[in-house]
Symmetry: C2
Subunit: 372 residues, 2 copies
């Protein structure tokens, strides 16, 4: 039995998630989860580092260390909160902040990815071995370096009695499908379409709010059929899985086009229709893969939108739709816990990518080990 | 007994140096050394990545992987040249290409350094564990992350019978002083002043050549006393060691100023005087540390300039001045071999920074381990 901390810092720039996990054999139990927001200045610095136009080598070099001090601090805080010494951890596993991800050879660039948050700093601050930078090793064997969570989903969610779909609803929605009694190499993972991205953008436009808290606006709206048809005619929906999408397809520009096209639809009707579109994009993507009995477990910010969850249940009547909390886990903590699972594999020199999900030619030991 | 390959890619952007080393206990024997030049396009890309103005996150992300393919290739080539399989190596140790080094908190940046050349790619190509990125861990304990070679110099050059000075003459000249029978924590290391930097710049200016091959121009010149006095009045010379310098102080701009100030001095006289200045900068920096008997072993490009070596001998009459080759080693290979020494320490979870040389608060295990 040992303890480890996983650190996740997502592309949404919300801040730093840390999960303190108890490891017993191959069982991982969440002890505590904490989230620490970035200060505005740091958020702005990271934003600058993400874009070709505003980034430079000096910023990336410094930010690599600056972020690491924050990551190290987050580990110290969660340990203190649990009256533990970080030096008693078996290891710390850090995803790092993705500042660039370019999974194909194109535009004069080779397939590559860049996560920053210098492991040496974290190791020194926490007095613990650090495992970090999990994505590049998968890309070295032809994978996309993403998704990174299927292995931990397999370890933590596989079931003897039903197919399980891990449905993440962040900005984009993506699914990992674990067959009943399934082997690791039978896992499939793909993006389904927009997650909260369209709903969030509409909330910003209509209400100057970041998201539809508790589905308050969606719950007051009525679906507009013309708009829904238009949403569903987006070419991504008809594309067969596995497929990937992003902000380019369902971000601000797309939402602004739709708003301009339907100026007479009320705020709440727009939001309700977008919420149904989000649910339908998910159901249409996963339906071809269903092998009942199926449990679909929703994680990510979308799991806290009850309107979206209700619509998903209606769209998938034969599927048992749940949220992470229904099975005693936390949506928020899921990715930080996943880092612990990956780190634990690496420490034991075991592979943890899932080639059927990333497209890699074989499984490999992910990450880099920095000794204290 | 095992074999390992060290990879070094220096700030001069000459190309990739690889050393195949046989390891027996704690003894390191150079088996083969190869140097592979960068193609012009790659050299230009790296140059762009070094400057704030021309670099961006996309370039750095891609170049991190592109360089790694070249590093991996260099390892495969030297193995093939020696009829070995790279998978039979115990490990590969890679310094990476330094794209930024900022050893102090200043100008809104934290103390940080950035070496690129993704270890995951090298591991996959060579089918071998890779140890990489040695500098950040030293900086995490307050060191400057440089110099990185003193530990290997200690291992490979310490002597029971004399003080030994490892005098590297690259663009800048720097010395590592190993006391007779000295312990690791008694090692001192510092920059002495310009290495080949001024001579090279003059050769470019007068002859459109990259350097003074075999001292051909310096050997034909006569020292100009006024110019020499002016060179020696540079404030860096009087500064007490330990001290560090760089292109900012002795680069193109400085040379152009001196050329403008002394328009009547002939090319070869200018070069000869700069060569003597280089020798005097070294002798004045190391003299306060001399504890005879002393052997000064010159490495780096400057060791192949016989005029410079002769002048050094004249400036340090009591010191036995030699070049690497005089003791059966190779100037060119020294840094690549050093990577093997550091990597070997890391693989065995042993420290290899030298706090008295870098300013670190203690010794730590350098680098990151990427498993094949």
């Amino acid at each position: 039995m040992s303890y480890a901390v996983g650190i996740m810092s997502g592309t949404s720039l919300d801040g730093i998630d840390v999960a303190l996990v108890k490891i017993t054999g191959e069982t991982y139990e969440l002890v505590d989860f904490q989230s620490y927001s970035f200060e505005l200045g740091m958020k702005e610095k990271i934003s600058r580092s993400l874009a070709k136009e505003t980034s430079d080598v000096e910023l990336i070099c410094s930010l690599n260390f600056e972020l690491a001090y924050l990551f190290g601090d987050a580990v110290l805080k969660i340990c203190e909160h649990n009256k533990m010494n970080s030096s008693d951890l078996e290891f710390v596993a850090s995803h790092g902040q993705t500042v660039y991800h370019h999974p194909k050879n194109a535009n004069g660039l080779v397939s590559s990815t860049l996560q920053i948050g210098e492991s040496s700093i974290i190791a020194e601050m926490t007095k613990t071995t650090v495992v970090s930078d999990f994505r590049p090793r998968d890309m070295a064997v032809g994978g996309q370096g993403a998704p990174i969570v299927p292995f931990s989903e397999y370890v933590m969610y596989r079931s003897q009695t039903s197919q399980r779909i891990l449905q993440n609803i962040g900005g984009i929605s993506n699914a990992t499908i674990i067959p009943k009694n399934g082997a690791l190499d039978k896992i499939v993972a793909f993006d389904c379409g927009p997650g909260n991205m369209i709903i969030d953008e509409l909330c910003r436009y209509f209400y100057n709010e970041e998201y539809d808290r508790d589905g308050q606006y969606g719950s007051l709206g009525t679906v507009n059929e013309a708009l829904l048809q238009d949403f569903m005619s987006h070419p991504f929906i008809a594309k067969p899985a596995p497929k990937t999408t992003g902000r380019e397809e369902f971000g601000k520009q797309y939402v602004e086009e739709m708003l301009a096209k339907y100026p007479d639809i009320s705020a709440n009707d727009f939001i309700k229709t977008a919420t149904l579109f989000t649910a339908k994009a998910i159901s249409s993507a996963v339906t071809p893969y269903l092998e009942l009995p199926t449990e679909l477990i929703v994680g990510g910010g979308g799991s806290y939108n009850p309107v979206l969850i209700e619509l998903l249940k209606e769209e998938l009547p034969e599927v048992k739709v749940m949220i992470q909390e229904d099975i005693g886990l936390s949506s928020d903590a899921k990715e930080a816990v996943a880092m612990v699972v990956l780190g634990h594999r690496t420490i034991n020199k075991l592979p943890s990518n899932v080639p059927s999900a990333t497209g890699a030619s074989r499984d490999v030991i992910l990450g880099k080990v920095t000794y204290y």
